[in-house]
Symmetry: C2
DNA sequence: ACGGTGATGCCACTGAGTGCAATCAACGAC
DNA sequence: GTCGTTGATTGCACTCAGTGGCATCACCGT
């Protein structure tokens, strides 16, 4: 006999996300999340550093893949192109199948200043990760940082368009489009 | 006879900043801030939306000046150059005299994840403001957004260098340098 | 059998942020 | 000059996030 139902982490995440979709982030308390997951309030904080983190669970893994793709770009490619190419490759692998969920999550985040704040931190982390990968390819400090942020900006411009109702185009297309729009701006 | 000592806002801001420098942000409570300012805890929240906001008091005004400078750039200038030029002009006016304070504040922010989180929101606001100014000059949606973020990245790369102990160069020089580093990267 | 490990649970506590009503100087209307 | 209004401040009570410490107890290796 098992002492506990398995996958407390997953149950907490699912409970949290469904409550956030139903009631919004701010109106949901950690106590409610724990109750729906059949767990103690304290247990929530054993698995997630805070109430906001559950929304972004599992983002760090994709950052790693993006960095790997960037490092694998042919030497001599200029930094911005390398970063964009890495984002495009990773986005095909990671995002394409999640559009439904991404739209729902996007709506939850858009409705909560607190979550937008945390999202900015995640963007900064991604920008730093990209910048580190670019520096490994020999890009200067400032060049890498600025390219990292520019690439992140393109990525999120593209992700917004990808999330629009009715969009059929793959995310990587839209990243490429944002890149071209920037270069010719 | 005055009912209250004047400038509650300023007293709260000064009390807060001095306590943050002395003890760090997390170890300072709003009650302590109010006490040092000779005011009630509740009054703090009438002047600042939350404990973090006091650190960034008065940033919005500089955002406006930056946007104005960008809109005043000669038509035909490409967006990134216009944004950088606007930042350089505004930084001469706004930042040059505050280096001491900026260094202290920078240390407070660097020591607190909560404040870094809020700082990212402020950067996002600045990026949006710049992007809006660029759109007014006819730049495309994506081009303006990406240029806005790239300009903000340059600005903060430059501000970091400007904050380094021993730096003598004006902020606008360092912005220009970051810009050139990006273009030749 | 047994001691260690780690996930879970319980309790009490601090501190941020909020809603609401009360106070009372200053000020303008008349 | 009186009076009603305004607005900054106060006090209180409340919810809820997040933390620290300790107890519990299946499971696992020895």
């Amino acid at each position: 006999m098992v002492r506990w139902e398995p996958d407390a982490y997953g149950r907490l995440r699912d409970a949290a996300l469904s409550l956030f979709v139903e009631q919004g982030f701010e109106k949901t308390t950690v106590a409610q999340i724990a109750e729906r997951a059949g767990l103690n309030r304290r247990t929530f904080f054993h698995h997630f550093a805070d109430k906001r983190e559950v929304v972004f669970a599992g983002q760090l893994a994709s950052d790693d893949l993006i960095a790997t793709e960037i490092r694998a770009q042919p030497p001599g490619t200029d930094p911005l192109h390398a970063a964009v190419a890495g984002l495009m490759l990773a986005s095909d692998t990671l995002y394409e199948q999640y559009r439904e969920g991404a739209i729902q999550l996007g709506a939850v985040i858009a409705a909560s200043p607190e979550l937008q704040e945390r999202e900015m931190v995640k963007r900064a982390t991604l920008a730093d990760t990209i910048a580190a990968a670019l520096r490994d390819r020999g890009t200067s400090e400032a060049g890498a940082t600025v390219s990292g942020w520019a690439a992140v900006a393109m990525f999120f411009v593209a992700r917004n368009r990808w999330n629009q109702p009715g969009n059929q185009r793959p995310l990587s297309d839209l990243i490429d489009e944002a890149h071209k729009e920037f270069l010719t701006a």
